[in-house]
């Protein structure tokens, strides 16, 4: 079934490329993805809807007369393909030529182990529903004050393929299983902050194991919000959980590493290659080649091989992230780093694949040492200006540690500047947590952050 479907998807890509070239395109690239998902959704601490979805989407990128056209569709019949090719060529005719437009040449790919599991491809709605009901029971037995607002368990089989007029031919398939919960604790009239957790794996059985742990974290987070009081205002230390490191620090930092942001004057890291932008111990790696990684893949959105890159080494900026267009724009022999992001529904963007921060040299518990007050941030609901790095927002699932006491806080704001914060990190934990089966991140302590109690 899977190999037949792979052939169908690969054939679809080649048909699209051939049709575009026959219609006058100078270059053409087709990317297609097939996905089959069975899923059980939870609502209000109960099974709500069970569903199955199957779909093939494709994207066709053409360059005609040096100009770009792009279309995506879920219809693969001959008439739709004909219309799509005409639309893409028509777009190119309406746009001025750009000499940087080009498709990458074919490159050899190395397959990644551990992406596909036969048993997961055969998972049924009965299995997802049975496990979803178990999650509800696990939460209920932990503490009846925890309400699941929504959540779900799913199993997906996917195939991705790409072909181009420059000889690119790539296909990859995989399975993924996911479980996640979103909710909050309610105790009488008190409603605590919502929180969420979940995890993923390529096989359903491993997913059940890691999601079991995620449910315990979810319960801990929900319950910790009960009894929260306002914090206090000071400028000082914060300890950021791996979730905050992922969403807040890396989520905002990676955009400034993208070569298009650098070229367009939107990145404060422009011109800082080889310079110190963070403390010594901070080393950021992007490795989409790790066997079994949930975001691992042998090729990027343009078919370029994905490799391991050290982006920041001991605080020194090593490289920006490039797709093929931005590499050509940078010149001087720059080549794509395999960071073309996106899928069949989008033009290639620039994004990291699977990040990890190197482990530090101190035990996680020691991050809380000292006499000064510390805010331990479990979640940050805030706003970061990607251009200036200024951030401000509310801390959630967070604690004030002071005078040997640790108490949950609410209505407390955290503000600062991301790039200043990178230089004021004072400790990185030895322990790291694998988030979503993909990103491996430690806990971090930083100084000089403004805390304002509401």
């Amino acid at each position: 079934m899977e190999s037949t479907q792979s052939e169908t998807i690969t054939d679809l890509c080649q048909r699209l490329v051939d049709a575009a070239i026959a219609s006058g395109a100078d270059q053409a690239e087709a990317i297609a993805g097939y996905q089959h998902t069975v899923e059980t959704r939870l609502e209000n601490s109960d099974v709500h809807t069970v569903q199955t979805t199957d779909e093939t989407m494709f994207g066709l990128r053409v360059f005609a007369g040096g100009s770009l056209g792009f279309i995506t569709s879920n219809r693969t019949d001959p008439n739709t393909i004909k219309d799509c090719v005409a639309e893409a060529i028509g777009q190119a005719a309406a746009i001025p030529a750009d000499p940087l437009n080009d498709l990458p040449d074919h490159q050899e790919l190395v397959s990644i182990d551990g992406l596909f599991d036969d048993a997961t491809a055969a998972v049924t709605v009965d299995q997802t529903t049975e496990y979803a009901a178990q999650l509800v029971e696990q939460v209920r037995s932990r503490d009846e004050r925890i309400r699941i607002d929504s959540g779900g368990v799913s199993a997906t089989t996917w195939i991705g393929a790409l072909a181009s007029s420059k000889g690119m031919q790539a296909v990859e398939s995989g399975t993924s299983a996911d479980g996640h919960l979103f909710g909050m604790a309610v105790d009488g009239d008190e409603v605590a902050s919502f929180d969420y957790d979940g995890d993923s794996a390529h096989d359903f059985e491993t997913m059940k194991s890691v999601v079991g742990d995620a449910v315990e974290r979810f319960a801990d987070k929900c319950l910790s919000g009960l009894g929260a009081q306002s914090g206090r205002s000071f400028k000082g230390s914060v300890v950021l959980s791996p979730d905050v490191v992922e969403e807040f620090i890396l989520g905002n930092l990676v955009g400034t590493l993208a070569a298009d942001a650098v070229r367009k004057g939107r990145s404060p890291l422009a011109g800082k290659l080889g310079q110190k932008i963070a403390v010594d111990g901070l080393t950021l790696i992007d490795d989409g080649t790790r066997a079994g990684g949930m975001r691992s893949s042998s090729f990027d959105r343009e078919g370029v091989p994905i490799r391991r890159h050290v982006l920041i080494e001991n605080g020194v900026l090593q490289t920006y992230l490039y797709n093929h267009y931005e590499a050509r724009a940078a010149g001087n022999g720059t080549t794509s780093t395999g960071h073309a992001g996106g899928g069949a529904s989008s033009l290639p963007s620039i994004s990291p694949v699977q990040l990890e921060l190197a482990a530090g040299d101190v035990a996680q518990d020691s991050l809380f040492d000292g006499d000064e007050p510390i805010v331990h941030v479990g979640r940050f609901s805030g706003s970061t200006n990607s251009i200036t790095g200024d951030f401000s927002g509310v801390v959630k699932n967070s604690f004030l540690i002071e005078n040997g006491e640790r108490r949950p806080i609410k209505e407390t704001l955290m503000a600062g500047n991301l790039f200043t914060l990178l230089e004021s990190i004072t400790a990185i934990s030895r322990e790291r947590r694998l988030l979503g089966g993909a990103e491996l991140l430690p806990t971090i302590r930083a100084e000089g952050v403004s805390i304002t109690a509401g």
Binding site: Q51, E55, I95, A132, R147, S193, G393, L413, S450
Partner: protein, 465 residues
């Protein structure tokens, strides 16, 4: 559209039990211009049929991109099998759905032919012109961009209990960004508009050039702005911030699925949650003037979209319901069930959420404010089950002794929504939809709009860095 409606009626008519079939064809076009280069032109089309079946008290859902009757019948059977799988573990069964004002007929919204009729070349020229206007708006501007996009939708919804409705709509949007630079310091200004309807709706608040000028001015002015002092403050919120507040911090807490899970609005119907100046509504239609970005004539369960009063004179009056939650609460559905694409199941979502205007003028409110801030232009926002919210603010202007003073930067606004609404002591007589380019996220996106008048209240500002 009539063809799709007839196909669904034919397929569904032979089904057992409750079946809901929704044909949904969505196409979107996007053009991106940045620093004088057309960086992006793309077109996306996606169509299919989503099926929901209620069987043995449980919901099953399946979808197909194949529009043949046989494929749709197969999807009905997949959804039925899924519902049966769910029923084995479902604790609280859905026995019956309440009577509802089910739609029958065609309900096209205006603007479709006008927007789709403009050529790609004209749209590219328009986006290029606006980007150039940003770029040329001053020496400090180092980067400029303009994004134009439009979503065109066709829907047909048929249920076994009587809905048979079809409609078409179009939603154009425009986004402009300016980045200013001086001595290595960067700042940005952002303007966006979105509407359901044609060009007049999109540009009701100004021309593209005027938005470009405003984005550039904001970026330039913020270069030299200081950060505010943090802490509790008197704030006057512009319609854009009011819209974000009522959507994120109140609207979500009154979505009946979230209420059942225990949101802060649970059990508070009939109780005071805001000052008596506050009346809050959520409407499927565009009140006050045409073009609100979340407008729908019929929801994705086939129910005619209502104008629902959520808070009346400070008293919580209604939640937002789909048919299932309405049955549970013993009320009529509000027409709030929405699905983003054919493969998504309908969820309870807001449409156009707004605060009803008052009688004061903005000038009077500013003049009556001794010490505070005027806040406009949301950058982003999040809110919690508790009603606690946090919004980034693009423009914050200091008010001293009733007069507008200097601009400050990096401002965030937070508070507990119902507490903040209790402090509202002035509401202006203006009205503006100002969130039309917004997308709401709840597992799947939804086009929404929100707005209202200027209001004065107390909240917490994120401050000094």
């Amino acid at each position: 559209m009539r063809e799709a409606l007839e196909l669904l009626e034919d397929v569904v008519s032979g089904s057992d039990g409750f079946v809901e079939a929704r044909y949904h064809a969505k196409s979107s076009r996007a053009i991106g211009v940045e620093k004088g280069t057309i960086e992006r032109s793309q077109y996306r089309t996606r169509s299919g049929v989503g099926i929901r079946v209620l069987e043995r008290g449980a919901w099953g859902f399946a979808s197909t991109g194949n529009l043949d009757a046989s494929a749709i019948r197969a999807a009905i059977e997949s959804a039925r099998a899924a519902a049966i799988a769910g029923s084995a573990h479902k604790k609280e069964r859905v026995d019956t759905l309440p009577a509802a004002r089910l739609a029958r007929g065609t309900f096209d919204l205006p603007g479709v032919d006008e927007v789709l009729g403009r050529s790609l070349e004209e749209k590219i020229a328009m986006a290029s012109r606006f980007e150039e206007a940003v770029r040329n708006a001053g020496n400090a501007i180092s980067s400029a961009s303009c994004g134009y996009s439009e979503i065109y939708e066709e829907k047909a919804i048929v249920t076994t209990d009587g809905a048979a409705a079809a409609f078409r709509l179009v939603r154009p949007e425009l986004r402009l960004q300016a980045v200013a630079e001086k001595d290595g310091q960067l700042s940005s200004g952002f303007e966006s508009v979105g509407a359901t309807g044609g060009w007049e709706c999109l540009f009701r608040g100004g021309t593209g050039e005027s938005f470009a000028e405003k984005a550039a001015k904001t970026a330039t002015d913020l270069l030299t702005a200081k950060h505010p002092e943090g802490g509790r403050a008197t704030v006057i919120l512009a319609p854009s911030i009011v819209g974000l507040l009522v959507h994120e911090a109140i609207g979500h807490t009154v979505e009946a699925d979230f209420v059942q899970a225990g949101s802060v609005a649970a059990g508070r119907i009939g109780k005071r949650v805001a000052s008596d100046l506050v009346t809050l509504c959520d409407s499927g239609s565009s009140q006050f003037y045409d073009g609100a970005g979340g407008t729908i004539p019929v929801d994705d369960e086939g129910v005619v979209a209502q104008n629902t009063t959520i808070i009346r004179n400070g008293i919580l009056e209604s939640y937002l319901h789909n048919r299932e939650s309405a049955a549970k609460y013993g009320v009529a559905p509000t027409g709030s069930a929405r699905a983003w694409e054919y493969s998504d199941q309908p969820l309870i979502r807001m449409r156009n959420t707004y605060l009803v205007p008052g009688v004061a003028s903005l000038e009077e409110i500013i003049a009556g404010t001794k010490d505070g801030y005027l806040l406009d232009g949301p950058r982003n926002g999040q809110a919690d089950a508790t009603g606690e919210f946090m919004f980034g603010v693009q423009e914050a202007r200091r008010i001293r002794d009733g007069k507008l003073c200097e601009l400050v930067r990096g401002v965030t606004l937070s508070g507990i929504a119902f507490d903040v609404m209790q402090t509202v002591d002035a509401i202006s007589n203006e009205f503006k939809w100002d969130l039309g380019s917004g997308y709401c996220g709840k597992g799947q996106p939804a086009k929404v709009d929100a707005g209202g008048p200027y209001i004065r209240c107390q909240a917490v500002l994120g401050g000094e860095q």
